[in-house]
Amino acid sequence: MNWEPVIGLEIHIHLKTRTKMFCRCEVAYFEPENTRTCPVCLAYPGSLPVPNATAVEWTIKLGLALDCEIAEHAVFHRKNYFYPDNPKGYQISQYDEPLCVNGRLALPGPDGDAEIGIVRAHLEEDAAKNVHVGGAEGRIGGATATLVDFNRAGTPLVEIVTQPDLRSADQARRFLQLLRQTVVELGISDAEMQKGSLRFDVNVSVRPEGSDELRTRTELKNLNSFAFAAKAIQREVERQVAVYGSGGEVVQETLHFDPGAESAPPLRSKEEAQDYRYFPEPDLVPLEPPRELVGRILEGLPESPATRIRRLAAGLDHDLAEDLVTSGRDRLYERVPGDRRAVANVLMNQFAAAGVDPEAANPEELGRLIEARSRIPREKLTEALAASGDPGFSAEQYLGDGLVADTAELEPIVERIIEANPGQVEAYRGGKEGLLGFFVGQVMKETQGKADPRVVNELLRQKLS
């Protein structure tokens, strides 16, 4: 039997608003502990939440980018549970009346688009951070104390839930990359996994191909990169297939990966049905986004990454087009003149490795560099690309610098090489034209690679003919 993976994602994105979701504290990463707090985010008695209007607008923006319906009446709910990182004893979240519902993201693929349904995108607040001390680093087991850093408490989070529409680990990875790029381009989040501003959980099940049943799923947590997620999903799919293959049943459970040790097998835990006692947050009035605001946000949406992948893929490999867009280099690509494939390859390889901000690079100069790349020594090219984002960067110096193109200077050297190798000269003249490379090599050696290969070629052909 052939098995088909059924994969759904739950993605959390930190909005990069200036202030927190329900108070005026600054949103800041890596600041000294508990320096971005106030009575609201510390849940002092009597404090009340006031929603961040920018966070609401940005969630609508994301919802529209994901083709969601924007609710005319959205409600914040309280999700009740006890934990030290949850200062109020409840998280303000959304439950059955979220801001954005029923959307989709068309994921371009080599064989056309796959439409991935978006169940909902809702706004909520993040928890504080528990820091376990006294035991193994950061682990609760063996810790002698837990300290709580409330800087993160109450920072705005958007939770996006997809339909279980993804059909392979690789598709899930590509979806995450596209979604990430969409969010970054909307300007609402850094969406950086290292910073924790993008986190996701994956639900995985398998079913016989052709069936539309939904079998027991497992949840994969703490995946710290897209590539690792793809590997972990693939492994989990294979495991489930093997379980069914041997007549077993998949058990509903959560697989907790160790972000510090990718190869470690995940810890498994039973999924407990926790009762969060959701009820409408009585401290907040419902959100009723005015339609003209929604209209204005819709009009201001930038061209989507998916659209650009489709456009670029018309003239390039799909994968290259996708890489250019999801790495944020496609706009530069479109402005750099020259051979399309060559430009795309340099941008995705040497240029990417140089770590230059694509926004800062000068496309014309980059084009000259790429065109001349075969004539530029490797180290020089690396140096040139690394500098290509500097203000006032010019390719000129790298094109000319060190390359001796002066015939008068090269001629004596060429003659000397010819004199010193009478055997090879005879062979060349006898028809072994492949020996030209040998002579070029000798000249290069003599000039320590500084001779212009075009001039050297020309001179050699003249003198040897």
Partner: protein, 468 residues
């Protein structure tokens, strides 16, 4: 010599304006009265020695956050808690020049109708020390009645301003939900809690409400008043249509003495020129209490979850975080909060939500609609505030249901978010009886007008007999 027993806030303002006394002298006079009489009453949990403002001093129920002044909500779990910020109502009072006299006793987390649920011991009624002052704002009511504050703030969730005002013979307003900020008020039931002024006269009440009311950007459930607050002057009720809801006036458990005085007051409305007619709120009264005892505990169970020993207040350590929570909450909460946390947790649980909390919210709409229908024909609805006069300490302490019935007449309009004013309308067996005036949303000016006219006509002496 300042006679704090008689002095109204308005008169105190006059004294200050005419420079007959200084703010410091006024503050001192009340502290002296507290020193003299509060040992037997226990209206205050703590007092503030130095006046901050240049105006009339005020007392706050101990759930109003006051920066640097301990705020316990009557609970051990908050003992020692010093707020780092002022509640908006405290800021507004301060801006109006008032200085804080002290923080008054209350039922723990405002859960109760007698102030016996305070973790710091009960308050006694200035009219009879054997009796309760009502609750949960019993400390504020007793302080005003006994001349230990010219005026005070209480909070009203199910009747916690109106009922103690009634039992102590003073004036208490529960404002329209959303007109007074809850920012900085230790929350009990967020969708019902409102801060209300407790005063000797209706005019004092309007003066204080004018300072408190209005939109607060820190509380998104607040709104701007549609009309400015008017200080009442008219002494007739011409053109006012007074509705007498049958169920609120004939409910089981209304003492004959209370009923009689309330009837007499209704008669007085007619004499003052009002049109008086009968009306009915059958479902509001039948279902009000049940609805309230689902919504309020549900919200409370969530609001009280923050008292976990992690950040402030009491902490009792344990070997792990669960044990710390359990021990802290067990030691910190009294029986009534525990009872309501359990009730509320149950009502919100999966599988019960629709039958309890969800259903109660629907009933709430029915009750609001029923009141709205009555206000098509009437400007105010009237009834006794409490079915009984002040009861004896301990009389209902062991019987939560009997205690809950104390609020049966105040709860329905609270659930509908409507304003209610309680004014003293006479004595039954030497104890004050309160008269409740209920109006549509934002009708405080009408309530003040009617209350003031009745007050003048009744001529009730707010000084407790035993203190004269």
């Amino acid at each position: 010599m300042i006679d704090t027993l008689r002095l109204t806030a308005e008169e105190a303002m006059g004294l200050l304006e005419r420079r007959e006394v200084s703010a410091a002298e006024l503050h001192r006079a009340y502290l002296d009265a507290i020193g003299e009489r509060d040992s037997e009453l226990h209206a205050y949990l703590r007092t503030v020695e130095e006046p901050e403002g240049k105006g009339v001093p005020i007392a706050f129920k101990d759930l109003i956050s006051t920066r640097g002044v301990e705020t316990t909500a009557g609970s051990k779990i908050l003992s020692g808690y010093l707020p780092v910020y002022d509640a908006t109502v405290a800021t507004r009072c301060k801006a109006a020049g008032m200085s804080l006299l002290g923080k008054t006793n209350m039922d723990e987390f405002a859960m109760g109708s007698s102030t016996e649920n305070s973790a710091f011991g009960p308050t006694r009624n200035p009219w009879d020390l054997e009796r309760v002052p009502g609750g949960s704002s019993g400390g504020s009511a007793a302080a005003v009645a006994a001349g230990l504050a010219p005026w005070a703030l209480g909070s009203d969730t199910g009747g916690s301003v109106k009922q103690p005002a009634s039992l102590c013979g003073i004036v208490g307003l529960r404002p329209t939900y959303g007109t007074v900020s809850r920012y900085g008020i230790v929350a009990f039931a967020s969708s019902l809690d409102q801060i209300g002024p407790m005063t000797k006269t209706v005019r004092d009440n309007a003066l204080l409400y004018r300072i408190l009311a209005g939109r607060d950007p820190e509380d998104t459930t607040t709104v701007e008043l549609p009309n400015p607050v008017e200080i009442p002057e008219r002494e007739d009720l011409k053109g006012i249509r007074v509705g007498v809801p049958r169920e609120l006036n004939e409910a089981e458990g209304i003492e004959p003495g209370v009923k009689e005085i309330a009837q007499r007051t209704i008669e007085l409305c007619r004499e003052l020129g009002a049109e008086v007619g009968e009306t009915s709120l059958p479902r509001s009264v039948d279902y009000g209490l049940a609805c309230y005892y689902l919504i309020a505990p549900s919200e409370a169970s969530s609001n009280l979850a923050r008292y976990d020993g992690v950040r402030y207040g009491l902490r009792v350590n344990g070997s792990n975080v669960r044990e710390m929570y359990d021990r802290t909450r067990d030691a910190g909460f009294g029986d009534e909060p525990k009872r309501r946390i359990m009730l509320g947790t149950y009502a919100l649980s999966a599988g019960y939500y629709e039958a309890y909390y969800g259903q109660a919210q629907k009933v709430r709409t029915v009750i609001a609609d029923e009141h709205a229908a009555a206000f098509e024909n009437f400007d105010v609805l009237v009834s006794p505030t409490s079915p009984t006069v002040a009861f004896k300490l301990g009389e209902k302490a062991e019987n939560p249901l009997a205690m809950y019935l104390s609020d049966v007449l105040t709860i329905p309009s609270n659930i509908a978010g409507l304003p209610g004013l309680s004014i003293p309308c006479g004595l039954s067996d030497g104890l004050p009886v309160g008269f409740q005036l209920i109006g549509p949303q934002f009708s405080e000016n009408t309530l003040f007008h009617v209350g003031h006219a009745l007050e003048r006509a009744i001529g009730f002496d707010f000084v407790p007999g035993r203190l004269k």
